[in-house]
């Protein structure tokens, strides 16, 4: 029993459980389908934020181009859905029936070869994850092998985001241009616009997110997680302990890319279209702020950050649109100047001490027991996290 409690505390399983309860039970019970669908959309951004926790919080690598991977995942899912929506019957008004409408407008008379495989759902699912990861590998391998990092890496990822946006907008015959790929209706005959399917998609999305968080938590607790932290601290020491530092960074980048792409695909399914406005520089940076608000070291914090900022955006853009940008500006500046560890940091420094004072009688069944109290000399030491962020890492 004690061993179990230790494990729960050490793995941060408690806070993950609370998050799972919130998004899988509380939200669906208290919200109508419209609001829930919104939450579902926000949660797709949370994928990117979770990826950024691994990449930026743990790996110390800031990418300002995560929209690229989110967008790629989303676009590939949209390609599949678009092909399904463009059967010859539905598009008989076109000069070439059976191809997506935007291709017809752009005088294409047959489906480009690289669109063909997206007739297959299993290929699409594979590609949604694999293609962004391969791209991430190519981009990051060249950079990290040459030890390009820090600010310079961040702005190169931005350049990549910019280039992909220009490509998508410029090649509208193949991509749908600024409008994006719209008017998506069914997934293998199943109408994704129904309320019932919205529910199903919401739960699939929430389930995947929890799964991804568990995966990331497992990675954090493995030696790889320790190495990422070690690299952020003393990169040369890790290198001269016989590790190929660049490959670990590549791994973190590829992992974050794959996670973002899943979010993108779920976005397309829930929102019903994909457009270049999710690929560029602005969405990419906004996604960084989700992670920063939640706490860049905290996986669940990233989810709360994504939810909170987006709720704020929806609320303020309705009630005080002029204020919204100021608030966003304040959020950016405040989060780096005053609360570098975000919500999770605030929780650590304010809420948790207060909670533990309240529950000072020891073996309370608290799942948020601080790592240090769960510590026993016999097991391996727990304090594997940087100062001030212990225990908030889940």
């Amino acid at each position: 029993m004690d061993a179990f409690k230790n494990w729960v505390a050490r793995s941060g399983m408690g806070s993950i459980l609370i998050l799972a309860l919130l998004i899988m039970v509380v939200f669906p019970l208290t919200m109508d389908i419209f609001r829930l669908n919104l939450v579902g959309k926000y949660l797709t951004y949370a994928f990117v934020a979770v990826g950024l926790v691994m990449l930026w919080g743990y790996g110390g690598i800031l990418s300002l181009g995560q929209g690229v991977f989110f967008g790629l995942g989303g676009y590939m899912m949209a390609m599949f859905l678009k092909l399904e929506a463009s059967d010859p019957e539905a598009t008989k008004i076109q000069s070439t029936p059976g191809i997506p409408d935007f291709m017809d407008w752009n005088q294409l008379t047959e489906l480009p070869i690289w669109w063909q495989p997206f007739h297959s759902f299993s290929f699409t699912v594979l590609a949604v994850v694999a293609v962004p990861m391969i791209l991430a590998f190519i981009v990051s391998f060249a950079m990290f092998k040459r030890r390009v990092g820090g600010v310079y890496f961040a702005i190169i990822t931005q350049a990549v985001a910019l280039i992909l946006t220009v490509l998508i907008i410029g090649q509208q015959g193949y991509t749908g241009g600024v409008n994006g790929i719209t008017d998506l209706k069914t997934l293998m005959g199943w109408d994704i616009r129904d309320d019932s399917s919205k529910y199903v998609l919401y739960f699939v999305n929430a389930g995947l997110l929890i799964g991804v968080i568990l995966l990331c938590r497992w990675i954090q607790m493995s030696k790889l997680g320790t190495l990422l932290l070690a690299m952020r601290d003393k990169e040369d020491r890790v290198r001269f302990s016989g590790y190929d530092v660049s490959m670990f960074k590549v791994f973190a980048f590829v992992l974050a890319a794959g996670i973002s792409a899943i979010g993108g695909a779920m976005f397309t399914l829930q929102v019903g279209f994909m457009s270049p406005s999710f690929v560029g520089i602005v969405p990419s940076i906004e996604m960084v702020i989700f992670a920063a608000v939640g706490g860049r070291m905290s996986l669940v914090g990233a989810v709360y950050g994504a939810l909170l900022v987006n709720f704020g955006k929806t609320y303020f853009s309705e009630s005080a649109p002029d204020l919204w940008l100021f608030l966003m500006a304040a959020l950016f500046i405040g989060v780096v100047l005053a609360f570098p560890n975000g919500l999770a940091g605030l929780y650590e420094s304010h809420v948790k001490p207060w909670l533990s004072r309240r529950k000072s009688s020891p073996p309370a069944p608290s799942m948020e027991a601080p790592a240090s109290s769960a510590h026993t000399p016999k097991t391996a030491p727990e304090s594997s996290l940087p100062k001030g962020v212990q225990g908030q890492s889940a």
Partner: protein, 304 residues
């Protein structure tokens, strides 16, 4: 087509490339100085350019209302003010924001991005959401036609001259002035510079402000070519970025070479291909070269 015509077109096309080069260089210069000196990327660079552009607009409106007789003369004065105002805001920004974040360069990216959002909203509240365009003095408009069929845009000449002036000024300052000496010392070895009595904090602030001031001048020059709106900055920053990234960020020579390379590629390919394809081609070329040489064209040897 006669030989004369081909000759004229070639001349004008050459000038088009040159004028794009000067625009890109002017946009990237301030960013490169700040990055080279402090390792900080100022994401609000575009907004500092917008400050310069709005300064021109303000001067043009004021002159038009209160002293219409001076319409031919206000422009140079307004450029000086564009520099001073952007310089002042830059100074303030460094004091309020940047200096707290020197140890965390990645966080400056986020903080200055936040700043840019706030500034955009300020522009929108002050000048309205619509794009504005100052009334330019007549001598800046139209073309200079040295011979039949050859038109050289005067605004292009003006921007070219301004860029030469600013770049020359920066180089001169960097290699001849005390500020330049301090900057070079700080870049080479910050603790040592500190130890020899250079106030590196002051140097940083001055550098940041000068970078912003140059952005203001760039924005001012830009009003002769395009219009200004609250979100124009986000358009400018993209090009400025590419120039600095491609140039290798830390060296002024790299910035010049990269602006020249991008401008010529773009301008020549635009003439022979379609506009969108030219843009894609230029960007792809940049990315390919960055893949082979991620550190950019001219990486500095001191910083990694």
């Amino acid at each position: 087509m006669s030989f004369d015509e081909i000759y004229n077109i070639a001349l004008m096309q050459g000038f088009a490339g040159l004028s794009l080069f000067s625009v890109l260089l002017l946009m990237g210069l301030g960013l490169a100085i700040i990055f080279g000196q402090m390792g900080v990327i100022n994401m609000a660079h575009g907004e500092f350019m917008t400050i310069g552009a709005y300064t021109i607009f303000l001067f043009s409106s004021l002159t038009e209302t209160y002293a219409p007789g001076l319409m031919q003369a206000y422009f140079p004065v307004a450029i000086v003010f564009a520099f001073l105002i952007a310089f002042g805001f830059g100074w303030l920004t460094e004091w309020a924001l940047i200096r707290h974040l020197y140890k965390r360069p990645l966080d400056t990216l986020l903080a200055t991005w936040g700043l840019s959002l706030g500034m955009q909203q300020v522009f929108r509240s002050t000048f309205g959401p619509k794009e504005v365009s100052p009334t330019l003095p007549d001598w800046l408009m139209g073309s200079w036609a040295p011979s039949e069929g050859l038109d050289i845009p005067i605004n292009g000449l003006f921007v070219l001259a301004l860029t030469a002036l600013v770049t020359g000024g920066v180089l001169l300052a960097l290699y001849k002035s005390r500020w330049g000496l301090r900057v070079r010392a700080t870049v080479a070895n910050r603790p040592m510079a500190n130890a020899t009595g250079i106030n590196t904090k002051r140097t940083d602030r001055l550098t940041f402000a000068i970078g912003c001031g140059i952005a203001g001048v760039a924005g001012a020059a830009f009003t002769t070519i395009g219009s200004t709106g609250p979100t124009s900055g986000s358009l400018y920053i993209v090009d400025a970025f590419l120039v600095v990234t491609f140039g290798g960020a830390a060296s002024l020579l790299g910035t010049v070479a990269s602006a020249f390379g991008i401008a010529q590629t773009q301008s020549i390919s635009e003439f022979f291909l379609t506009g969108s394809m030219a843009k894609v081609l230029t960007l792809l070329l940049i990315v390919t070269i960055l893949m082979i040489r991620p550190q950019g064209l001219f990486a500095s040897k001191i910083r990694r």
